[in-house]
Symmetry: C2
Subunit: 204 residues, 2 copies
């Protein structure tokens, strides 16, 4: 019933995360009746995304492209007030954002973009191990904090990275895993409780 | 923390209905890492929306623009199997879509795009009364079904349209209002129950 170009727009919008056909239709009907300037600008922004945003050449986070000759540098790597000696390794950009929101870390990051995953055919050769080692060496990093998720893939990746980095003479730590803040001990799963006990700290 | 062009994209996406900053950020991060061809096409589709889709010149529903000289015609108005003698007047395109999904109507539509609303400054002069009268006359419509919503604005609009159309010698009807299918009589509001009783029909 919809005109062809609206139908293909709905299909495209339905690929957004968490958006089904119904929500995509709602978005499309909104766009088709919205202010023309806004819609045109939104389309331009999406279309130009791949040329305006690139992974930061140092950490892999998002960086604005300023000129084609200049390697893209994100705002975190460009910030000289941040501690170069601490490097936090995350699996995905979203995890970096969550840690930034917590305000608990003032060092710099390294985004792996993928985790070891034998089932999906991701092996050690697919991880940016060399770039990470170069980064640690060049920046004189003293501590690498492994903030990959406490899942099978995340733990395997953390173990691999620790094995690769320790010979470089750098401290390698792993973020704590345990019962989350506000969480219920009664309903915590066995593995979480096991980790919470294992990772207990002395109250001094 | 985000590069400027990503930040403005997030602002644009956050104007979509039901989308807040968090969801907009999720969409933007998805787009920035998604397949380039898909993202570029999506941007193009949004950008070209206002030139590829126009209101149907007969009913106001969405129509594909085929050439700049040809007035846009929607798939419902173009369908000769549909009954020209019944015209269903709706407030919004979304209402037309809901009636189409029900499969209960095989005539044609007229989309008002707005309802009488003294509070928002929408008076009779703002409604497409002339276009509607022309449509009724030209198509030889025998019944106009008023499917504006059973709200204050929708009822006022229906009354106005009935008053305008009846002198043209056309039957004017109003969709029934009552307790919805599967609804609970105990929890139905007074006005709905009043309408359900008023609109009762003999069981023969």
């Amino acid at each position: 019933m919809f005109p062809p170009s609206l139908r293909s727009l709905i299909e495209g919008l339905a690929r957004l995360p968490g958006v089904g056909e119904k929500t995509a239709t709602r978005f499309a009907l909104f766009l088709v009746t919205a202010e023309e300037d806004y819609v045109r600008l939104l389309g331009e922004q999406i279309q130009g995304l791949s040329s305006s945003i690139r992974p930061c050449h140092r950490c892999g986070f998002l960086a604005q492209v300023r000129s084609p000759d200049e390697p893209p540098l994100c705002s975190i790597c460009a910030d000289n007030h941040r501690d170069r000696s601490q490097l936090c390794v995350v699996g995905r950009m979203q995890d970096l954002l969550a840690i930034e929101r917590s305000g608990a870390f003032r060092g710099r990051y390294f985004v792996l973009s993928k985790l070891l995953s034998p089932l999906d055919g991701v092996g050690p050769a697919d991880l940016p191990l060399e770039a990470l080692a170069r980064r640690v060496h060049e920046d004189g990093v003293r501590e690498v904090i492994l903030a990959t998720p406490p899942t099978v893939d995340g733990e395997a990746t953390a173990l691999l990275l620790a094995r690769e980095l320790r010979p470089q003479g750098v401290r390698v730590s792993r973020i704590a895993s345990g019962v989350p803040h506000g969480g219920d001990i009664e309903y915590a799963d066995q593995i979480t409780l096991g980790r919470a006990l294992e990772g207990r700290q002395l109250i001094e």
